[in-house]
């Protein structure tokens, strides 16, 4: 076990994979000489040299597609999309090309590539640099989507993603980069398996990325007996673990940084309702960001992100009185 920051866990996973598999190459904007704007490729350029670690021009479409082509020719490219929003100029190559090449070739070509992207609010980067945007990629058959919640899962899941034979979208909660955690580099994690971080009897809390930490704090604060499920993989998500938990607890709350409309949490609620309807003791519900562009102002941005205080209140409402806690903007009357 080694203590390291989340961003160092990323570096270490990249380094370990590059060492053990020479097919792994890394490219993106300022990932080489500058070691990444979030220092997620520290030391890699020095260690692996300019052939395997490359700076690209500002051309997300070209370098995302270059990863697809290189992967089809036997490499295992990892690329960095600095902020998830930038995929908006390159979505085609990942979703419409990369994710469909295996299918369109009767399985003759494979596309083992990883697209890393930082995401999420909380650092004052404003509305075009703060969203999570899982929805852009989550309904893409042929593409896996991962979002780790701590240094250990960042490390283990990034290695699993690089080893995977398929294109993987790897979302990194930007606010976690500086967070420290213990990492056991021998620990393997499987894509598609949720992590039950804490077990309890009265409510199931499902979260992803940094919201896992918010949920953990909330559970502690509310002093409820909860299963905390870190989904970790969004596509394909671990239906079995979630459903078993819901069948046990009878209550379900999803905590997500997505907007109220269109967020991924609906799928968890919807599936759980369909599959575990008779086990439900009360209405399952989501705690999300509001339907607004991410505001820059710090106070507003802090309100934008689901807070442990709010999630705690929601947990109590559900466990103590089988009630749904409405979003704060409704209860406070600031919006519909």
């Amino acid at each position: 076990m080694t203590a390291m920051r989340f961003r160092q866990a990323i570096v270490t996973a990249l380094s370990d994979e590059m060492e053990s598999d020479e097919r792994v190459i890394l490219f993106g904007e300022d990932v080489a000489a500058a070691e990444g704007v979030f220092k997620t490729s520290e030391g890699l350029f020095d260690k692996f040299g300019p052939v395997r670690v490359r700076d690209t021009p500002i051309s997300e479409m070209a370098f995302t597609g270059a990863a697809v082509g290189a992967a089809m020719m036997g490499m295992r490219p990892v690329i960095e999309i600095m902020f998830m929003e930038f995929l908006g100029v390159a979505l085609d190559q990942l979703v419409t090309e990369g994710a469909k090449m295996h299918y369109l070739s009767k399985g003759e070509y494979t596309v083992p590539m990883v697209v890393r992207a930082s995401c999420g609010a909380g650092l004052g980067f404003g509305t075009q640099h703060s969203q999570t945007l899982e929805n852009w990629v989550a309904a893409t058959p042929g593409l896996k989507v991962i979002e780790p919640s701590d240094a250990q899962s960042a490390y283990s899941l990034l290695r699993a993603a690089i080893q995977d034979e398929n294109p993987v979208m790897f979302l990194e909660s930007r606010i976690l980069y500086a967070e420290r955690g213990e990492v056991d580099t021998s620990l393997k994690m499987e894509i598609g398996k949720a992590r039950v971080l804490q077990e309890g009897s009265d409510v199931t809390v499902v979260a992803l990325g940094n919201m896992v930490n918010v949920a953990r704090d909330a559970i502690a604060d509310a002093k409820v007996s909860a299963d905390l499920v870190d989904l970790a993989t969004l596509v394909p998500w671990d239906r079995e673990t979630v459903l078993n938990s819901v069948k046990k607890t009878g209550r379900l709350i999803v905590v997500e940084e997505s907007p109220w409309s269109g967020g991924w949490g609906s799928e968890i609620i919807s599936t759980a309702t369909t599959e575990a309807f008779s086990a439900l003791k009360c209405a399952p519900f989501r705690i999300t960001a509001p339907d607004v562009p991410v505001p820059y102002n710090g106070t507003l941005e802090a309100r934008y992100i689901p807070s442990a205080v709010h999630v705690s209140a929601a947990l109590k409402a559900a466990v103590e009185s089988n009630q749904v806690l409405k979003p704060w903007w409704i209860t406070e009357g600031v919006s519909k």
């Binding site: 021009p57 597609g65 490499m75 190559q93």
Partner: protein, 330 residues
């Protein structure tokens, strides 16, 4: 039955075989058009009539372990690369025996044994992928090249610009081939693009470029050879512009009524098959009798490929769920 690779290799240094394959492409497209009109093919098709010299020029200059990222207009290049008329037609008909198992259709040709990457139906879709293939070759220190083949109108999409720049700055063994057939859908290229010689755009990337008569298979080969040599030498990418002409409409039932009078006829005088025919006759390796025999052979070949494809089984429901993800080695 010859494999795709055998059919590809059969073209090697065999000018008669080029001519014959061009006849096959022409006949294949004629039948495709007919089958579509008869309602026996669904969806859409994009014929490559008039572009056979470019397809053959590419196939004969590249090696089978080079790779090509092409477009929805790829029946011809697929046949040139070695795929059988049966394999391509079965795909167009959605049969399990098609080159993509029937789930791709006319716009998605593929055969890894001859380096034909799944063709893309998105404008600009294949360019970055060819760049990436070339990147792999460079890293792997292989002498192969990646080729992107796309239309004139595709030079206005952002991916074109980004791909050329990236290829240039990384000095990748990639060749961008513009099939300038004068039209993008129903729009003449001059209405969407302010310059006529599209290869001049290479200057923006300090990239060498070549303009070539795309109706002349020998000229195409010479230009491609120059570009391929540069790439294999490690001297980076080339932009090649082949001047061709789309003899057919854009897709399906398009009658191309928007063409200026006489334009088609003008180009038909430079029909690539005609030009090859004349060259081979001049060289004394082809005569009228051989032409007739070949044409008969090709008509029969394509016809029996179609008959076979029609009789072939459809993919099963299970096939639709295959190859979405590659299963992991355990």
């Amino acid at each position: 039955m010859m494999t795709s690779l055998e059919r590809r290799n059969a073209l090697k240094g065999n000018e008669l075989a080029w001519y014959e394959r061009m006849l096959e492409i022409r006949e294949f497209e004629r039948r495709t058009n007919e089958l579509f009109a008869a309602g026996l093919i669904r969806g859409t098709t994009h014929l490559c009539v008039g572009q056979e010299a470019l397809d053959i020029g590419l196939a004969t200059t590249l090696n089978p372990d080079d790779v090509l990222a092409a477009t929805y207009r790829s029946h011809g290049v697929a046949l040139a690369f070695g795929l059988s008329s049966h394999s391509v037609m079965a795909e167009i008909m959605g049969k399990a025996t098609g080159c993509a198992g029937g789930v791709g259709g006319s716009m998605h040709m593929c055969d890894s044994t001859v380096g034909l990457l799944p063709t893309s139906a998105i404008i600009g879709g294949g360019m970055p992928i060819a760049v990436g293939a070339a990147l792999a070759f460079q890293v792997q220190k292989k002498k192969n090249v990646g080729v992107a083949l796309f239309g004139d109108a595709a030079t206005n999409i952002g991916a074109f610009h980004e791909s050329l720049n990236l290829a240039a700055i990384w000095k990748l063994p990639v060749i961008f081939v513009i099939d300038n057939n004068v039209y993008g859908e129903y729009t003449r290229i001059d209405l969407s693009t302010p310059i006529e010689d599209l290869h001049l755009r290479a200057a923006s990337y300090a990239m060498p470029s070549i303009k070539v008569d795309g109706m002349d298979v020998y000229a195409v080969q010479a230009s491609m050879q120059e570009a391929v040599d540069r790439a294999r030498r490690g001297d980076g990418p080339t932009l090649v512009e082949a001047k061709t002409y789309r003899f057919s409409g854009h897709s399906r039932a398009d009658q191309a009524l928007y063409r200026p009078a006489g334009e088609l006829e003008h180009w038909q005088k430079r029909d690539p098959i005609l030009l090859t025919e004349q060259a081979l006759i001049k060289k004394g390796i082809l005569d009228q009798a051989k032409i007739e025999a070949m044409k008969t052979k090709i008509v029969n070949l394509v016809d029996s490929a179609i008959t076979q494809a029609q009789a072939d089984p459809e993919p099963s429901a299970k096939d639709m769920f295959s190859n979405v993800f590659k299963e992991m080695r355990k």
